[in-house]
């Protein structure tokens, strides 16, 4: 009952945008650490790349791509709210954003499985 005023598409979009942004920000240092292994030589980078072949890393990659797509789509929603003339609660945009992210995630999953 406490959070009943938050149960609507606009708030959901805000929450998903914020949480995906935070998750992506947390990922970035690891991404740079990973790339930094190239400085230590070819073997170090190859070793790191080999590690990404494990299923858990693949799953994390899928999560990452889906989060990126979600964050991008919801960022476009904010731009639409602020720069396009609109009426109504923009439910369509939230649906499109979520749908686009889901589709990207599924496509990436299909590409992984090939």
């Amino acid at each position: 009952m406490r959070a009943a005023h938050r149960r609507h598409p606009g708030y959901l979009a805000f929450l998903a945008h914020r949480l995906s942004g935070l998750a992506l920000a947390l990922f970035l240092p690891f991404h740079f650490l990973f790339l930094a292994t190239a400085i230590e030589g070819e073997a170090a980078l190859e070793g790191a790349l080999a590690w990404t072949a494990n299923p858990l890393a693949k799953l994390a990659e899928w999560g990452l791509v889906t989060l990126l797509a979600l964050h991008l789509a919801l960022g476009l929603r904010v731009l639409a709210i602020e720069f396009l003339p609109w009426r109504g609660p923009l439910r369509l945009w939230v649906g499109l954003g979520g749908g686009a992210a889901l589709a990207t995630g599924l496509l990436f999953l299909a590409a992984l499985g090939r």
């Binding site: 009952m1 406490r2 959070a3 009943a4 005023h5 938050r6 609507h8 598409p9 606009g10 708030y11 805000f14 914020r18 929603r77 904010v78 709210i81 602020e82 720069f83 609109w86 009426r87 109504g88 609660p89 923009l90």
Partner: protein, 246 residues
Amino acid sequence: MAEAAACGGRMLEVRIWRGRDDGAFVSYEVPARANQTVLDVVTWVQRHLEPTLAYRFACRVGVCGSCAMTVNGRPRWTCRTHVGRLAGDGPLAIEPLRNLPRIRDLVCDLEPFFTRWQRAGGRFVATSTRRDPLPRIAPDSEARRAVDAGIECINCAVCHAACDVVAWRPEYLGPAPLNRAWTLVNDIRHGAREETLDRVRGDAGCHACHSQMSCSEFCPVGIAPTAAIAGLKRASLRHLLGRRDE
């Protein structure tokens, strides 16, 4: 309300907030009617069970904006909220609005809400007298349509109660005052349009909005303050770039 309209003796279970911040819900049983608003329920409790119950209302027809309360966790105008149309069959829970100091039972102190209207430059500054000719404003002009979209606000504070940014940042001006500012910025008769825009361009003004859209979701008269705030953000950007709109 005629007794004949009662729904076969069925009773509604209603939980109403009593006291101030350290108060609690108290349960009451109210006769269910075929056609009954939340305000009817509160009035019935006060007249038949709890004469000391404090609540606020005036017009009972959705014009004055006095009777807003939190109903089942959502801010609503109680005079136009029909009990039968509320989702779920659980007990009705009625509390005061969020984000405002509580006075007693269902009554909030609206002073912080109206102070924000002043801080947002919401006071109209006349540029002519009654002896001057009326300015001509094209009804289909962009500015006039922007004013139309936001002008019917009834000052009920539902948007203020619905907004999480108001809860998180006490200095944030909030949806209704920003909506009011947007109607004034677009009103060519307003003599302080620059000042109004200056007042809402600050850190606690339009740029603090996170586009959660709770204000637009719950506004009982269908205003979208998010659209007004977006308009202020664009006006603020144009101001930053050194362009003035006329």
